[in-house]
């Protein structure tokens, strides 16, 4: 719904305060950008090193992985579902893909990405099929998948560990490679975000995701193939998590079976902070990616200004509460404005 504002000379409107609705909703994404700016500004004032290229590059590079997973998660949440299995998928994919270097020395990096993608796709297909076709609540299905995939991970890894020494340096340098000063991975993820945003905006199947989350009954009545769309959303979420797993491997090099444990909650936090309604229907993948960027920036900022990292989780929690309070406040305001208006128009 990032449609441009209607041209001037619009016909006279029925609802005079309609702008209120649109402006407020669009302001949601803008709000994240503002908060982001404030965080950066404050951090820079306290510690000027923060706005040096190195730190910002680090943040972007760190954000990429989160943003990638958040895009998939956002698409799932838009349909009034949730994917709790993303952390496990990232962990499994990270191990399997990094392990490829040990079992197939000299394997091209692109093939390793394909393997990670494959792992993610497989997980997404299973989760999506159970949820969409079996009509089981996704909260339960993906919670089960969280444990199952983590269990598989533990069995596969055993007590083993992928060590950095088995991975080629070209792979381990991926997170720090840059083009024009911007990390390669960040650019690639930005492209993914852009494609996802374009898809959600410009294709029927993409709009269907919003419709399903907005009102499932109405969606059914409109003839939208709900099961198919929800299935697709889970497959995309799985696939993106799989790719993110490879990035995880490159970033952390040493991979154990506990890799990315608990990631799913950080991702959901990022998505919600980014303005995707937890009950579906509204929000954007750009917002979700910005949410990931904001949380990551706060993380780094605390680091740079010397606040102990033990605060970070509490602050994530506060951000979440701030975000949903904001959303709730907007809703209440709108409802009140609407009721007043109806009274005014009332006979």
């Amino acid at each position: 719904m990032s449609a441009p504002a209607p041209p001037a000379g619009d016909p006279a409107e029925l609802a005079s305060p309609r702008r209120l609705v649109d402006v407020v909703l669009r302001a949601r994404t803008f709000g994240i950008v503002v908060v982001l700016g404030v965080v950066v500004a404050i951090s820079a004032l306290i510690q000027s090193r923060f706005v040096g290229g190195g730190e910002l590059r680090f943040i972007l590079s760190q954000t990429s992985l989160y943003a990638l997973v958040a895009v998939g998660e956002a698409m799932v949440i838009m349909t009034r579902n949730v994917d709790l299995s993303v952390g496990s998928v990232v962990g499994l994919s990270a191990y399997v893909s990094a392990n490829m270097f040990g079992t197939h020395p000299g394997i091209p990096t692109i093939l390793v990405f394909a393997v990670g993608l494959g792992v993610g796709l497989a997980c997404g297909v299973v989760t999506g099929a159970i949820t969409a076709i079996g009509r089981v609540p996704s909260l339960v299905v993906t919670l089960a998948m969280l444990y199952i995939i983590r269990g598989i991970d533990t069995i596969v890894v055993g007590s083993g560990v992928v060590l950095a020494s088995t991975e080629p340096s070209s792979f381990l340098n991926l997170p720090t490679d840059t083009v024009l000063g911007i990390p390669d991975i960040a650019l690639a993820v930005a492209v993914v975000v852009a494609i996802a945003a374009y898809y959600l905006n410009s294709f029927r199947s993409g709009r269907d995701l919003y419709a399903i989350g907005s009102d499932p009954d109405a969606a059914r009545r409109a003839g939208i193939p709900i099961a198919k769309r929800v299935f697709t959303a889970f497959v995309i979420s799985g696939a993106l998590s799989g790719v993110a797993g490879v990035i995880w491997a490159a970033q952390y090099a040493t991979i154990e079976s506990t890799a990315a444990t608990g990631l799913e909650l950080q991702i959901i936090a990022a998505v919600v902070v980014g303005g995707v309604a937890i009950f579906g229907g509204s929000g954007s993948v750009v917002g979700a990616a910005l949410g990931a960027l904001l949380l990551q920036t706060i993380n780094s900022a605390l680091n740079v200004i010397g606040v102990s990292s033990i605060w970070i989780e509490a602050i994530y929690g506060l951000m979440l509460i701030a975000a949903i309070t904001l959303d709730r406040g907007i809703q209440v305001r709108l409802a009140a404005a609407l009721r007043k208006r109806r009274v005014r128009l009332g006979a």
């Binding site: 449609a3 209607p6 609802a15 009102d215 109405a218 969606a219 309604a277 109806r342 009274v343 128009l345």
Partner: protein, 553 residues
């Protein structure tokens, strides 16, 4: 029940649409006859009906919702369907909309071929659009997308043509004479605007029949005027409009033909010009006045007092009292605000101003516990959702509101609970096989008795009963009426909300008629009649006078 109609050749209809736009759903069997010509046809009924309902019947369980009803719908004609609550109007709408297939009878298209509507999609393909009183839009999507959802116009590569979609929507709303901004989100649209969006959607489907189910019930006067304009432009475009309304002045204002339903049967179908409002009211009500369940008696002092209660947009300045030993009925049409007043008085909903007293005690607003402590009980309208815990046993349901009295040291006493429940089930003559069976095992009437037992066992001084006999059989109905009367005899103040006029007349000592959020009439039992209540409820203040001449006293 399979889809039997053959969609016409996609390009067959000479339509106003351009290439590359979404193909409108074809009007199925009747499109061939009602094709392009009718779209531009001048106003005035065409010779053949666009849609005919032949001898349709529909029963839900033992209740005959519709019996042998036949209606012809013509293009460029607005056909009113009127009747009391429960006369079968909604069932007719659902048959037309493909929600419920009729048990017997058929629908015929304009070419005389039968239509089998086995779902909303089939009805839409047959060119029938239903505009519900409260439409369900996608609140998060734009108005244009709500019109075109899943049928958005596309460019090459499958990309949605947002600009064309916007232009098309704007053109639709201009055709309807209502400039709605296609870009705004649907959230926050008034009900009137949501209806316009639905009508726009119907037009985009090239609907030939548009059914409006009480569209004006929730609209303000200006909004109603605008809707009438829209109905006018639908007529100009050759559409057959079915207009369901409780407001007789609206029938006379915009409809050409009217059908009256009563108890599921068709009473008359006639041109509006041949009828008066008095004729319509008589046709709607015209049954024997039900026998009264009790004789009048003198009630004691006021127990429940509601003073100047208002909630913006819902109800205004409501004042009444219910005395001990008295049954007061809140009557009026669905949507008049009766349940809302009761809910506010009991503390479920907030209110803006006014006060509620039980005896000398003022109830805090929005706190149902306060009302319960003051001795008020409320039996809600929807027993399955709000009155009972369906999966719990009959025994537990009856004891649920009296648990405090049945515990010792915070623990429930099983035998006491069972004795308590058995006693109350017997007093209300609940028919069950085992008291430990779940509430789902009971019939509707017995479920209602369980709900009553649950509240009566608290021995309230005031009881509010919302639609006490909805959906239960006649024998049990009479029992419930008897119960309410006995209750008031024993000194309880009873407030009944009912859409069924015979019920109101049978049990009430006093009747308050609500219309559009206000109490418009107060009738004592002796002066009340179905005609007078209906006249007040539909805003036909002059009707009682007109009836005096021709109707029995």
């Amino acid at each position: 029940m399979s889809e039997q109609e053959q969609p016409n050749d996609e390009g067959g209809e000479g339509s106003h649409r351009r290439d590359g736009e979404p193909e409108p759903a074809k009007a199925g069997a009747q499109a061939s006859a009602a094709g392009s010509g009718a779209m531009s046809a001048a106003a005035g009924p065409t010779a053949r009906p666009i849609l005919s309902v032949r001898d349709a019947s529909k029963a839900f369980g033992a209740v005959h919702a519709l019996e042998g009803v036949s209606i012809d719908l013509y293009g460029s004609e607005v056909h009113a369907v009127v009747g009391e609550n429960g006369a079968g109007k909604s069932t007719l709408v659902k048959i037309l909309g493909g929600v419920h297939p009729p048990d017997s009878g058929t629908l015929l298209g304009s070419d005389g071929r039968p239509l089998f509507l086995n779902g909303t999609a089939a009805a839409r393909e047959a060119g029938i659009a239903i505009i519900f009183q409260e439409p369900t839009l996608f609140p998060d999507l734009s108005v244009a997308e709500n019109v075109f959802i899943a049928r958005q116009p596309r460019r090459r590569g499958g990309r949605i043509d947002h600009r064309l979609m916007r232009r098309e929507s704007r053109a639709l709303f201009e055709r309807l004479g209502v400039p709605l901004d296609p870009d705004r989100v649907a959230r926050g649209l008034s009900i009137a605007e949501q209806q316009i969006v639905e009508i726009g959607k119907a037009l985009s489907f090239d609907a030939r029949v548009v059914v409006m189910d009480e569209p004006t019930a929730a609209l303000s006067a200006t909004e109603v005027a605008r809707l009438f304009g829209v109905v006018g432009s639908l007529r100009e475009h050759g559409v057959a409009v079915v207009f369901i309304s409780h407001r007789l002045e609206e029938v006379f204002a915009i409809c050409q033909r009217v059908t009256v339903l009563r108890d599921g049967r068709l009473v008359l179908t006639q041109p509006v010009s041949e009828l008066t409002a008095g004729d319509l009211v008589r046709a709607m009500v015209g049954r024997d006045i039900a026998a009264r369940a009790h004789e009048h008696h003198d009630p004691a002092g006021a127990v429940l007092r509601v003073q100047n209660l208002s909630r913006a947009g819902i109800f205004q300045d409501i004042s009444f009292e219910v005395r001990a030993g008295e049954i007061v009925a809140l009557s009026g049409l669905v949507g008049a605000g009766r349940s809302e007043v009761a809910r506010a008085a009991f503390g479920i909903d907030e209110y803006d101003s006014g006060s509620v007293f039980v005896g000398e005690r003022r109830l805090r607003k929005g706190v149902p516990i306060d009302a319960m402590r003051a001795g008020v009980a409320m039996v809600p309208e929807d027993r399955r959702q709000q009155g009972l815990v369906m999966d719990m046993s009959i025994q537990d349901n009856i004891a649920l509101a009296s648990l405090r009295a049945l515990t010792r040291h915070g623990l429930l006493i099983g035998p006491a609970q069972r004795a308590f429940a058995t006693d109350w089930a017997a007093r209300l003559q609940v028919k069950y096989s085992r008291i430990t069976n779940p509430a789902t095992s009971l019939s509707g009437g017995n479920q209602q008795k369980v709900v009553l037992a649950k509240w009566l066992s608290r021995e309230p001084s005031v009881i509010i009963v919302d639609e006490p006999t909805r959906g239960i059989d006649i024998a049990t109905k009479a029992e419930v009426h008897r119960l309410l009367v006995e209750l008031s005899r024993s000194g309880v103040a009873v407030l009944v909300i009912s859409s069924e006029l015979p019920e109101v007349l049978a049990v009430a000592d006093r009747i308050l008629v609500m219309r559009e959020g206000r109490v418009v009439a107060e009738l004592a039992q002796a002066e009340a009649s179905e005609e007078r209540i209906m006249a007040a409820a539909t805003g036909q203040a002059d009707v009682p006078v007109a009836i005096k001449d021709g109707s029995p006293a």
